[in-house]
Subunit: 326 residues, 2 copies
């Protein structure tokens, strides 16, 4: 039962965003506001255009879920154009735009993204968990689109551990073709996890690589750990073996925030205790129960029907499909 | 250059195996001998039959890599029958047989495996790393074949961490169909990781479940850890969140072998040190360099050509293929 809830207008939402920015946004600091309407199909054009404008104005990111699912292909059909083309027509496909997922994009979408400097954010674990599909990694790279890695949040990736995401990105695409020269290289995966992410987040001038003048945002790993012993290839072992247990120190802008497995600025045990204490009330909220019913009804009928429909994503060939088995 | 190497005869190999069994095999103990010819296409029929007989004789496992790759489909064509059918014709497809991978099997193979009580071992991370394909999980379950989980060794899975394998098995198959009722359930994955594995290893009467009369082979996890906080669903979080960092204790037959993150019976630091020290000489062996050249030549030509050929595995439909994107 979602009755009684009236969605805010574009004007109301953007007014709220400006207020929060004025109070909390720290240009060049650690706390920054990001504009992230969930998907083009869920927002008015006014809101999309206003949010993109605001993102550019404060030099931050316009983040949006695009063509994660076949439902978004259908939403595009209802708009009479692909959602990527719609974004471009609205003037919101720019180098500030980061398109999460980018699975059911077509060749024209990819060319548009490359031309406008938009980023694609790859969430391989979430995409498997939800059965969304596989992002056309090689096509995006070949077109020169900036690719970043993401978790898509703990509701679908279950954890925010980026080492798991790196490994998944490095192996999932190998099922797409037997031609291993087309598989993601460790260099590409590592770049997506560092500079690709920094670029997508509009932070590439400050972080993403170790360079004079950039902030010391560093993860220090112990190569004497099990994951790097014996040491054969540093990058391969970082991506295929490491799971976070070799991390000895984390620095943000030169400040140590993790040391010897402990957070230095907050008491982790206290926070976990707070979460445990809050859980029963959270689970029992009437809204949670209602939301579960709505989601079950939607996925059991409409979404399942759309998913069963035939939509082919970029570059799909007979051999690609067959190689991936079943 | 592999000249000068003469493979042992079946008689020589089985004689060697009997000798090692007499010296080291402990029936009911911790150290047991397993018969594991690498693949039917690499062994004489005599060796296969003899090894299977020996496995049954000492009550242990007959482990073999079957239809992991399309090359094994071609090997079957050269034998005039599927490699699973060949195994059955030789009398080596039994409840002692564990078929690693089982990817390019057909419906008849699955029916045979179910009828003879053979196990399928699923190695989802290795299969992605090598671009091998996806095991038909649902078909095998529906036919009643015992399914176990494996790493396939650290040469292709890179680590022996089974928690990673559980998670990969739980999400990879979701790309095969939008019908989520067909996706692996957490119950199935957990069963494959415990009783399924025990059954495949011929240890199901001793371990695999917590029961009176079974050995206390236990992994004790701390549910106050990050991976289980807040606690929502124990099995889901075990499979989708846990990565080994919640492990507080491991017991084998009642004896504590891991406590507070440290092995109790060996000095891990010493062993890692030994591995580091041994690595340079290992890398520089002429055989290693020769093997790398042979592998590169094979994968670059013959294997790639076979992989590009069209073989469809069990249950493949248009929709399955399309759903998996590219």
């Amino acid at each position: 039962d979602l009755a009684g809830f009236t969605p805010p207008t574009a004007e109301q939402y953007l007014g709220f965003a400006r207020e929060v920015i004025a109070r909390f946004h720290q240009p060049g600091g650690r706390l920054r506001f990001v504009l992230s309407p969930s998907g083009p199909q869920r927002c008015t054009h006014d809101l999309l255009v206003g949010a993109h404008e605001l993102a550019r104005e404060i030099g931050t990111l316009f983040h949006i879920h695009v063509l994660e699912s076949k439902s978004q292909v259908v939403a595009g059909e209802m708009e009479g154009r692909s959602l990527v083309r719609l974004m471009d027509d609205l003037g919101i496909l720019s180098d500030h735009s980061a398109l999460a997922h980018s699975i059911w994009i077509n060749d024209e979408d990819i060319a548009l993204m490359a031309d406008r400097g938009a980023s694609a954010i790859h969430n391989p674990i979430s995409n498997q968990k939800l059965g969304s599909g596989i992002m056309p990694w090689r096509k995006l790279h070949a077109a020169g689109v900036n690719v970043a890695l993401g978790a898509d949040g703990t509701s679908t990736n279950d954890t925010p551990r980026m080492f798991d995401v790196l490994r998944s990105a490095a192996i999932l695409h190998n099922l797409s073709t037997p031609d291993y020269s087309q598989w993601p290289s460790v260099h590409e995966v590592l770049h997506a996890a560092t500079m690709g992410g920094a670029r997508a987040a509009q932070l590439h001038r400050e972080i993403g690589s170790i360079e004079v003048g950039k902030r010391a945002d560093l993860v220090v790993l112990d190569t004497n750990s099990l994951n790097f012993t014996p040491l054969n290839d540093l990058r391969h072992q970082l991506i295929h073996c490491e799971n976070g247990t070799s991390v000895r120190m984390v620095l943000v802008d030169g400040e140590v925030v993790v040391e010897d497995g402990r957070l230095t600025r907050v008491n982790e045990d206290d926070i976990l205790g707070e979460l445990r204490a809050a859980m029963p009330a959270f689970r029992d909220q009437p809204f949670q129960r209602a939301a579960r019913r709505v989601v079950a009804a939607l996925t059991g009928t409409i979404v399942l029907q759309i998913a069963a429909g035939s939509y082919v994503n970029a570059g799909e060939t007979r051999q690609d499909r067959e190689m991936r088995g079943c």
